[in-house]
């Protein structure tokens, strides 16, 4: 009967209750969708960081990452690459020679990160061959082919088959230069990455630098993201004189960014839930205050305080639960739709910050469960103040109210 009374009480003011449960539904949708959006954005960023920049873990000579000194080479790099390739969980290993170089065209000069790669290995690890938007992947030119991004091509006003000059320091500290012919333009949708990186064949670069078969960097792609840390640990023990780091530690900003995004999402969802909480408290307070006489009568005829409290709590929970499933359904539908079709942010600055222009929101079932639990807790919290207000009524005074 308490449930029946609570349920029917909600419908005493149809418009008011409808407004509240629509607010709950929209609030919940906004919270879940924001969460899914940032989640999707971060997942894509993580995928992008792993796939394009860091792989799951990398191996260097200690100190190399800080200054990219040409001398800090792993002389047995090829052997390490072969050893890691035999690991079951490993999808691909790319041994690179890396240095900062000056890229010059007829129109402009600027610094780039020059990656000397084995095209076959690199295509497995970063899939850079799949990002080509023009030209071919190290084909069509025999000597010194180079892949640059479309952004760099536009900036330096070069195109396929244009000649560019790369200038860098060799092992002895001498300035060396080589002319390279553009064979392909790539676009990874990650602005920062595209503006910095260019790719040449490792042999061509080794010849210029005079580093032979040695490597600066070994990037390893695994089958699963969650294995990165344990595998990095394992190889750190195998090669104690080298620096083996998982992607989260390689990209110093990433760990902080993930934590920041989690906090940001938490704050946004929190603000929405607090706003909803006050909206529900307000509605329930009105509902209690306009029924003072009725509640007084219920206490007069023998309804215990516990039951009065329960009646208000059940009423609040019913009100919340009318809106919550609608909000969750709305969220599920919109997240599923945009999770497939994506949200195109256009040419926004997101790409320059290393985020994709097209975001695919995603949310795990656990997140729906967590938010649902938060809504239940919020409903119970929202009920407490109005219920206490009801309990404080003295029946003898309440029944006299007009």
């Amino acid at each position: 009967m308490i449930f029946k009374v609570a349920w029917r009480n909600i419908w005493r003011h149809k418009v008011r209750s409808t407004v509240v449960f629509i607010a709950i539904a929209l609030g919940l949708w906004a919270g879940l969708f924001t969460s899914a959006f940032t989640h999707g954005m971060m997942n894509q960023k993580i995928d992008s960081v792993i796939k394009m920049e860091m792989s799951h873990f990398q191996i260097h000579k200690p100190g190399f990452r800080e200054e990219l000194q040409v001398k800090l080479l792993m002389n047995d790099g090829e052997n390490i690459v072969q050893a890691i390739q035999e690991e079951k969980e490993v999808i691909g290993v790319s041994g690179r020679i890396v240095t900062m170089a000056m890229l010059g065209s007829a129109n402009k000069n600027g610094s780039v990160r020059l990656n000397g790669i084995n095209p076959d290995d690199e295509s497995i690890v970063t899939g850079i061959n799949e990002k080509l938007v023009e030209g071919e992947y190290f084909r069509g030119v025999e000597r010194n082919p180079i892949l640059i991004s479309r952004k760099i091509a536009e900036k330096y006003k070069v195109k396929i088959k244009s000649k560019v000059v790369l200038t860098m320091q060799d092992m002895e500290g001498n300035i060396v230069a080589g002319a390279f012919k553009v064979v392909g333009l790539f676009d990874t949708q990650n602005g920062m990455y595209d503006e910095l990186n260019v790719f040449v064949r490792r042999d061509d670069m080794a010849r210029l630098l005079g580093v032979g078969n040695s490597l600066h960097e070994i990037a390893v792609l695994l089958g699963r993201h969650d294995m990165a840390e344990s595998m990095a640990d394992k190889y750190q023990h195998v090669y104690p004189k080298l620096e083996v780091l998982p992607w989260m530690d390689l990209s110093t900003g990433m760990r902080m960014m993930i934590e920041m995004m989690d906090t940001y999402t938490f704050i946004i969802v929190g603000i929405i839930l607090v706003a909803l909480l006050f909206s529900i408290v307000n509605t329930m307070l009105m509902a209690v205050l306009e029924r003072v006489k009725e509640i007084g009568m219920l206490m007069s005829i023998g309804m215990s305080k516990t039951r009065v409290f329960m009646m208000i709590v059940v009423e609040t929970i019913c009100l919340t639960f009318l809106g919550a499933p609608l909000g969750i359904l709305l969220s599920y539908g919109s997240i599923s739709y945009f999770g497939t079709h994506g949200i195109n942010l256009g040419d926004a600055a997101y790409a320059d910050m290393g985020f994709s222009n097209v975001i695919y929101p995603s949310l795990e079932y656990m997140d729906y469960l967590v938010v649902s639990m938060m809504v239940i807790i919020m409903a119970v919290l929202a009920a407490i103040y109005p219920a206490i207000k009801a309990l404080r009524l003295k029946p003898v005074e309440a029944i006299r109210k007009i």
Partner: protein, 229 residues
């Protein structure tokens, strides 16, 4: 047998000038009585009724209902006591607007945890008794004032209380509805021996009452048995 007994019962409302709403009232009401407490506005009749019903606590003195001293009960014990021993009829009906006549009358029994089968049988019998067998599923808004007050009487009786306290039960009713309601309560008193205590200034109620207690300035100034049942 004494159902209600008050000994030196007083209630003072504190304020700039303290008001002695009820002043040293000694009163006993027997089983099966049909008693009206009358008096002008501010004479203390509602306050006295509230204290007898355990809704308000006295400043001093004792109230005993079936030999149980109400002033010794805690707040929760009082609520439970009201649920089991006292039926209330209020001036403005005070039905639950979202429940039907049947559900309103049934509500008290639900609070008493009476099984559904017994509840339904009793509610139907009571609503028949007050002449509302064809209005059982109507909500208060679909009933007239008199009909609502009859539902309130059925609700007051549903818990099988020791007595029914009725605070100005006919004040909001037209004369036909008031007569009708009084007929019902009178019959319940005569045939089923239910004790009724009214606070009223309605002459129709006073005329029907077996015993009339008159209050003035919180004191009993007369206690008259008008006629035997």
């Amino acid at each position: 047998m004494k159902v209600i007994e008050t000994i030196n019962l007083s209630k003072i409302f504190e304020g700039v000038v303290p008001v002695h709403a009820v002043n040293q009232v000694n009163l006993s009401i027997e089983d099966n009585e049909f008693t009206a407490i009358v008096g002008p506005s501010g004479s203390g009749k509602t306050t006295l009724l509230n204290m007898i019903g355990g809704l308000d606590r006295p400043t001093s003195g004792t109230i005993k209902v079936n030999q149980i001293a109400l002033n010794e009960l805690s707040e929760n014990e009082l609520i439970n006591f009201r649920l089991k021993h006292i039926g209330f009829v209020f001036q403005s009906y005070n039905l639950i607007p979202v429940l039907s006549a049947k559900e309103n009358a049934e509500f008290v029994m639900l609070l008493q945890n009476i099984p559904a089968k017994d509840r339904i049988a009793r509610v139907e019998a009571l609503l028949k008794e007050v002449g509302l067998e064809d209005k059982m599923n109507n909500r208060p808004s679909q009933l007239s004032g008199g009909q609502q007050q009859r539902v309130a009487v059925a609700r007051a009786l549903a818990s099988k209380p020791d007595f029914v306290l009725a605070d100005e039960p006919t004040a909001n009713l037209d004369s036909k509805s008031a007569e009708n309601l009084l007929d019902i309560m009178h019959r319940l008193n005569k045939e089923e021996g239910i004790t009724f205590v009214f606070s009223t200034h309605d002459q129709r109620v006073i005329d029907r009452a077996r015993r009339v207690i008159t209050l003035e300035d919180g004191k009993i100034i007369s206690d008259v048995i008008q006629h035997e049942n």
